[in-house]
Amino acid sequence: MHPPFLQIDNVSKHFGAIQALENVSIDISPDELMVILGPTGAGKTTLLRTIAGLESPDRGTITMKGQDITQSQPTDRDVALVFQNFSLYPNKTVRQNLEFPLRAPGRNFSNSGITQKVEQTAEVLHITALLDRPAPHLSGGEMQRVAIGRAIVRQPRLFLMDEPLTNLDAKLRESLRIELIRLQRDLGIPMIYVTHDQVEALSMGDRITVLSEGQVRQTGPPEEIYERPVSPHVARQLGHPPINLIPVQNQHKKWTTHSGTAILPVGQDAPPRATLGIRPENLLTEGGEIPAQIEVIEDLGPSTILLVKWAGESIHILVSGEPRWQVGDEIYPRIEPERVMVWPEEKRNGHGSHPLARQ
């Protein structure tokens, strides 16, 4: 185990009455891509700005390579920040934009060294042909490549990315996402990547930290967060369509929905009330005992989303391939009990224990 490259330890920050960050602790290892996932207002950007030194925490410490940098100037931290809005100098060419960080005071690169670094960076990002164009003549995707280029050209100690792909169209997002992952791996420089997009989070992160209301809800590899979320709240941050959350009561050793339908036997030591979480892909369309009416069928190509009314609840089922049904058809969904997550009701909104799907 490497010692962590960056340690964020119990960091809190408020703006007036708003608690933006509350006792946030995250460790990042030397070559890790850490995704911070959360909705708007979760505190993601504040966290990033605090790491960059653009905000000063009220409490807590930030340590980089064993050195306390909590009070260091942004320039002394040697981190590179890329924003959602392509912030290029409009009156400069692409080349001049890329040279800028290398010509900053205190960096003593020779002219030939600068040219070499700029051209290497341009090659990595496939923007060599654009080097002598004025920045305003670029498309959105090209601008964001240049902005990323400006961050990597000087090989910082840490990348901080604040939703860099959000303003790009879907096709470009897909391809740049892959390029960013490969770039980070090739360079071996740790990256903290902030997003509200669950597809990006799952595909990019070595680990994901789920943040909401300024608090860390869970940190772990994508598989762990997706398959073993600590609370319904975390469970809902990942997955498309979202996880089915079904409030149930323990009646006669059966989990029973609002409509009074018993859908599953309860495990040992089960609480009187709970929330069941069932991922849409973990519901089979046949073999169950309780009928469901199909209300909506969405054929998305590789998969089909069904919206069905089942045991008085509206639930999603995700199946592979093209639909074999019509709206109004009756099916008998089957739950695989070992794939059901159970959270005692009192833990619904906060930190919870691991889901206990005991049978």
């Binding site: 169209d169 879907a170 892959i178 598989e223 997955g239 369509p241 892909e281 998305l300 190509g301």
Partner: protein, 353 residues
């Protein structure tokens, strides 16, 4: 018999920009048509010409047996729906929904009847006396939809109505529109750049690029048998894998290969030897013991599935697999393509063979 018909519709702006370049389209009554394409493809301009908000440079628009090409918007029976979220915060739900009806001077009793009917259909009757600020996001969207639907125009024209919503509400409202559409059979033309939304909502999708229609078809037709490379790549997320090579005769079989690959991909199409581009969707590639050798570059976990990015002698490609399968970077796999789902394109014309 077409209900809405566009004939050679064109729009050229004074600066010479050709936004729409000869669009022909026939829509039946009760059809839900989605215009899909990237920004700048002409989809919104087409919609605005149907609404009467843009004057066509040439061509003809017929709505319900009437030539409406040069009629002002108020004399066409169209309902133009913008993004769904904008409710007036100081008005109740009832007042919000009544607003477009009061605007056209409908008498009070008729307003009441209409609102009751629509509120009932959309399940917002219990909310009528509340203010928008007291509603959940999803309920607000229902109210905005109700406000759009109290009028019953010949055709609804919708310009990216879900564009500003988050993923979850987008899914909810999309399902809602679909179920209402099935129940009420409204005729609608809906513009989006989101291919998933198009797949989910449309009876037929019209794919546009560079001011022209590239393909018209059911979601399944557009997805499975794209007419050209643009459609193949634009529809699907990720798009179709496109590999450059040639069709050759090998023994008794027609196969696809190129000079670098020593593997032949069997084709079920009876085609003459020719240079070609092979298209295959990520879900129709699977690992096997024989087949095209490819090296894993990257594996993307997606929760319910996984995308594996591969490097092969035929080019880079993406395979969709179960989430539970694990692949290591640099691992070599053998891949089989489902011959039933291979598409072949002419590299010169970029159109399907």
């Amino acid at each position: 018999m077409p209900f809405l018909e566009l004939q050679d519709l064109q729009k050229t702006y004074p600066d010479g920009t050709r936004a729409v370049n000869g669009v022909d389209l026939s829509i039946g009554e009760g059809e839900f048509i989605v215009l899909l394409g990237p920004s700048g493809c002409g989809k919104t301009t087409t919609l605005r010409m149907i609404a009467g908000l843009e004057e066509p440079t040439a061509g003809r628009i017929e709505l319900n047996n009437q030539d409406v090409t040069h009629l002002p918007p108020s004399q066409r029976d169209v309902g133009f729906v913008f993004q769904f979220y904008a409710l007036y915060p100081h008005m109740t739900v009832w007042q919000n929904v009544a607003f477009p009806l009061q605007n056209v001077g409908l008498p009070e009793p008729e307003i009441n009847t209409t609102i009751n009917r629509v509120a009932d259909a959309l399940g917002i009757t219990p909310l009528l006396n509340r203010h928008p600020g007291q509603l959940s996001g999803g309920d607000q969207q229902r109210v905005s939809l109700a406000r759009a639907m109290v009028r019953t125009p010949d055709v609804y024209l919708m310009d990216e109505p879900l564009g500003t919503l988050d993923t979850e509400h987008r899914l909810e409202l999309r399902e809602f529109i679909r179920s209402q559409q099935l129940a009420l059979s409204v005729t609608a033309m809906y513009v989006t750049h989101d291919q998933e939304e198009a797949m989910s909502l449309a009876d037929r999708i019209v794919v546009m690029a560079d001011g022209e229609i590239r393909q018209i078809g059911t979601p399944s037709e557009v997805y499975n048998t794209p007419t050209d490379l643009f459609v193949a790549n634009f529809v699907g997320s990720p798009g179709m894998n496109l590999l450059t090579g040639k069709i050759v005769q090998a023994d008794q079989n027609v196969v696809f290969t190129n000079d670098e690959a020593d593997t032949h991909i069997p084709l079920s199409h009876p085609l003459e030897p020719a240079p070609a581009i092979l298209g295959i969707r990520p879900e129709f590639i699977r690992p096997s013991t024989t087949g095209l050798q490819a090296r894993v570059m990257l594996s993307e976990y997606q929760g319910s599935h996984r995308y594996v990015h591969l490097d092969s002698p035929l080019g880079n490609l993406i395979m969709r697999t179960e989430a539970a399968l694990h692949f290591n970077a640099k691992e070599t796999l053998c891949l089989q393509f489902d011959p039933e789902h291979i598409c072949l394109f002419n590299p010169q014309t970029e159109r399907a063979f």
